[in-house]
Amino acid sequence: MKSRTMRLMSLLAVLALLLAACGDGGAEEPATTAAGGGELEGDIVIDGSSTVTPLITVAAEDFQIENPGVRVTVATSGTGGGFEKFCVGETDVSMASRPISEEETGICETNAIEPVEFIVANDALSVIVNPGNDWTTCLTVEQLNTMWGPEAEGTINIWNQIDPAFPDQAMNLFGAGSDSGTFDYFTDEINGEEGVIRTDYNPSEDDNVTIIGVEGDVGAVGFLGLSYVLENEGRIIALEVDGGNGCVAPSAETVIDGSYVPLGRPLFVYFKAESLQRPEVAAFARYYADNQESITQTALFIPLSDEQAAQQQAELDEITGD
């Protein structure tokens, strides 16, 4: 009798201990064991644009193979979402598909966080259609505006409303959701003001949803980053865009030479200046700069131009004092 109660009591005690252990587990990492021979250790926390994510994921994977002691986590909550976390100090690196805004810089400043900007690749926003679409290969910016402007909401639903030569085919729209930098960029360039767009399309922060939507519907149109187009070749096709100088297809060459307007753009990451003082973060930045060409190509982005690359190396030298 006595021993049974004792057993029960000790079981409860163990349970309580377990609970207590779960309570603060994870919060503290075991103290870093003495680093042997300059081996890098630590965590690099990255968050931000879904457009930049594939690129940084490739870089992070390769970097971690060479530096197994460093753990790099890459999360995706959109350019704006990324900056929100970055500017309160939750992350070391923020990925962005547009430059940091003045408002965001202000928030960073109030929290004493200094962002250091790097251009990491070039990207093109692509307008995609279903492979079964045999009536159009090129749209002008005006046509895109007719299609996506706020006035189109509820009224422009058929292809021949864009151009009488197009068929009487229902037009379903897919695109980035309002948290993504792709959304800001597209609305700014096509509708003239950031955030202004018809709302009766299928928004998603996950570009794969846009791919699935357009792939499954002959009349569908969507917009997303060029890398997703290259990754999903055959499932969807990218349209040429006429920004005033004739139809230009999105590609590495047309983005770098500046002819793919207005939907070609640079992509950014922002390092927290303070984090760059940590050896593992500085090493990651250096790793990226040294390998940007192969990383961008693996991730199906457009590499930096020679000019951009040289500038990046120079800035990095200045910061890390090499």
């Binding site: 409860l12 979402g81 955030g195 998603s204």
Partner: protein, 316 residues
């Protein structure tokens, strides 16, 4: 010689020995622990309600109830935002309605079969399968709906109107599949609980199995069956992942079940994935919708309790 009777009597009847006292302490300790567990659930429920209510009230200080229930445009995350909640309420009604249309006949069919027809061997095979179906994670069901049910079944064979790549119809069907085990196992429990004597009475009167099942067992178990359906309906209303994956994220207000849709729960999921700045109206919207969802399921539960009471037949 004095015989001391007091020593023999006093300790036993009035004062606890060490061992007995320990037992009493343990008793009290366990009573306390179990009581704590019980009241913790009450506390958690109250906390949930409060955590919904406070931000929801802040939401309604920024957006009027008139706009929330009076407008039919739901674009809370766009500029300029519009907060007419009807499109996602109707989206919820569509997916839940379709789910129940699937789950009620199939679930009750399974229940009748298991309790009235199946012999032990068949039950031994069927029950585990039902449990496996109940255990499939909803995210798996969601992908099943997105990549199989919608393109291969719904888009091919649905006869009326067009079906988009994301459709409320397919979402409803898959949610229906998800809640079949709930309907089936609860309804089966209710039917097996019908006293044997009633069935035997039915057979004695010359009833066939089918007649006994539909005219004796089914009515006798009706309150339990209704409860099963309402519980399954509540799960369907609150289902987030499947609807989010299969129905898309465009709120529509219309008569075509093949359209993209957003339900209240899938809106909460969608808005939660994107990063709404804490305290912004977009962020508060999540709680307002959550509160509405809570109220709707709460009202349904009250109605169901009424119905269950009304149809309850008590057998001694």
């Amino acid at each position: 010689m004095v015989i001391r009777t007091d020593t023999a009597l006093a300790p036993v009847s009035l004062r606890a020995t060490g061992a007995t006292r320990r037992r009493l302490y343990v008793q009290a300790l366990f009573k306390g622990l179990f009581g704590l567990a019980a009241f913790l659930t009450v506390g958690v429920t109250i906390l949930i309600v409060l955590s919904l209510l406070i931000p929801a009230l802040r939401f309604f200080s920024e957006v009027s109830l008139g706009e929330f229930f009076g407008s039919t445009r739901w674009t809370p995350l766009f500029e300029p935002p519009s907060f007419g909640v009807w499109p996602i309420v109707v989206g919820t009604a569509w997916t839940t309605g379709i789910a129940l249309l699937v789950a009620i006949p199939f679930g009750l069919g399974v229940a009748v079969y298991l309790s009235e027809y199946a012999d032990r061997r068949v039950r031994a095979i069927l029950k585990p399968f039902l449990e496996i179906l109940a255990g499939v994670p909803t995210v798996v069901l969601g992908f099943f709906g997105l990549f199989l049910v919608n393109p291969e079944i719904v888009q091919r064979f649905w006869p009326i109107g067009t079906v988009s790549t994301f459709s409320g119809l397919a979402a409803g069907l898959v949610v229906g599949v998800m809640i079949i085990p709930t309907v089936a196992s609860l309804a089966e429990d209710a039917m097996t609980a019908v006293p044997r004597g009633l069935r035997e009475g039915g057979f004695a009167l010359g009833g066939t199995r089918r007649e006994v099942a539909t005219s004796v067992v089914f009515p006798a178990a009706l309150s339990g069956i209704v409860a099963a359906i309402v519980l399954a309906g509540s799960r369907a209303i609150g289902e987030t992942t499947i609807v989010l994956l299969v129905a898309g994220s465009r709120p529509t207000l219309g008569w075509n079940p093949g359209d993209q849709m957003q339900s209240m729960a899938s809106f909460i999921g969608f808005a939660g994935i994107g990063d709404q700045p804490t305290g912004s109206t977009g962020y508060l919207t999540i709680f307002a919708v959550g509160l509405l969802l809570f109220i709707i399921t709460f009202l349904l539960n009250i109605v169901s309790i009424r119905i269950v009471r009304r149809f309850r037949e008590v057998y001694e």
